[in-house]
Symmetry: D2
Subunit: 189 residues, 4 copies
């Protein structure tokens, strides 16, 4: 039985680099990898790492997309890699589970586990419920501790306002430990 | 900084045994451990392991309980252990987080991550969002694979009907792998 | 392919309890577990946990024992559990590896990783080289930190003298963190 | 207390990429990272990843080098990263341990755990004995399973002959699972 892996990490923990590395490892062995990504992240049709390496996305999926059908139609790969998996719908995560369990395709989904108000995204919550293996990619807070939360800034000032997804010029994010998050944001609730 | 640990596992993975062992380890070192448990599980005011060892619960918490205040009022322990943590409210999990981050008390919460319809419980979902470390306690399916899901039986027959929490004589649970779960229950959704 | 797991931990981390729990989980599913143990530990032909639960050992192995042959002759089990695995020889660990890889039997070996002078045992070093999965069972130091080393006492006084294995009335062990170990013992080398 | 981490993986598992990513994460936070490497690997004074990213090595250490003194003399960093850590001497690994425990510097050492005959290297064995945390970087075998061993080829043919370290034009390595290794090499011993 193949497995569904959820590799989560705070902002800037190296999720895209890790995905590109795994794609590279499979390709080196002559194996076929498919890389998919939800459309919510409209930055680009590529996986782009802060180390300045990038990788084409094979399938871009909107919220209505039948993920399993699309993957099987693309030719069942030896491994399926998902970038920005937090933006998947719950039904799409169930498709990832079936691709692993019923179709025998290892699936590795990379994503955030919580938003700027410490709440899960639809995709990450369903992954936390269903993944066979939950693994953390670590990064550090400005204070040197491990960062587990993501704070939002608008124009450089910390805020708890706005919609769950906001990726425009004014909005920034900083991965933080619990102590610094409570200091800057004041509340988890 | 102390940490909040979520150690999850399917039914019968040995969560209570693990909790009792950790309590024993701390006590052997002359350290003070507090064991808490939500009231939803009315089986007993004890942590009871299938290995036939048990441990008193120090605080039983209903849904309204102010967890952090209660723990601090009981004398801040060297370590806080939580049994059946899936039944905590989201606000109580936030209290666990604050006890670790702000009060410096290591917190180890043991619980299920998903119910018989593969959905998270309120406490486990919030723990998945906030815990500093997420660790799995493994057990096996009837087929020998790792079990990650929990199926419900009523009178011995598998079912997807009923409320999230049901602990009476007729109702049973079986921890299962994805393949066996889909075979017996037919759907994840 | 089945796997060879090495679950290591310092003294009194609950290794025997964990082994007994796993044996219990398999038996509950109607599966056959074999428990083996090297003779070096002559304390008893049982696995005995500090929680006062115990489990019969099915095979006691001296250093000359052909482990793989003995296990297969005993009827290939659904799972092989090894207590005090640090005392196995390197060749016996290779047999564990072959039982997993060639005979399809999952093997879970529990043991110490280092002795009172911070050096590996023959069995644990070979397990660190060969195991498919290396997992830690945690316990705490007297100071509350995680213990990763084991200090020896003779008549209550810390010492670095004596042979690697010494289990008599005068000799005791204390699991410690690096800071406390260096404070009490003075050196790693 | 800072910790000593050993992140091990088979050949081509992405160890150098992971190191470069961590260095990048620290630098982004305005923190000072020191990257060290033993001289045994004479390929270059850089960490070079197969993704075509690279990073300067700050200190190249021969077997005689007093690692701890050299690191402290270079200005105690916020984090110490070690490439090719399997080539360190045991005494140098003890220095890493002291830098973490006594000097409060987190140390992350990346390396192989076993050579082409499945035996540990001096540095990796001592790291397995002393590291506070042992974490695996995974890669795959040609057959799609996880690779945990490293086979040597000379002129394209598998071999068990030669010294532990050999990095010249004729010699190649392939990371493999246990099944494929036994098939190609025939023995672990």
């Amino acid at each position: 039985m193949a497995k569904l892996y959820f590799r989560y990490g705070a902002m800037n923990s190296g999720k895209s680099t890790a995905l590109i590395q795994v794609a590279h490892n499979y390709r080196e062995r002559g194996q076929h990898v498919l890389v998919v990504k939800p459309t919510v992240d409209t930055k680009s049709p590529q996986v782009v790492s802060r180390l300045m390496v990038s990788r084409e996305v094979d399938l871009v999926l909107d919220e209505e997309a039948a993920l399993r059908d699309a993957v099987l139609a693309a030719g069942a790969p030896d491994c399926l890699l998902v970038d920005e998996a937090q933006f998947l719908t719950g039904a799409q995560v169930e498709d990832l589970f079936r691709l692993a369990v019923q179709d025998g395709i290892p699936v590795i989904a990379y994503g955030l586990r919580n938003d700027f108000r410490t709440r899960g995204f639809p995709g990450s919550l369903r992954l936390m419920e269903l993944a066979h293996s939950i693994e953390e990619l670590k990064t550090i807070c400005r204070c040197g501790r491990k960062a587990t939360l993501n704070a939002r800034t608008v124009g450089g000032a910390f805020t708890r306002e706005g919609s769950q997804v906001a990726i425009d010029g004014e909005v920034g994010y900083e991965s933080m430990c619990g102590t610094c998050y409570l200091l800057k944001i004041g509340t988890l609730g």
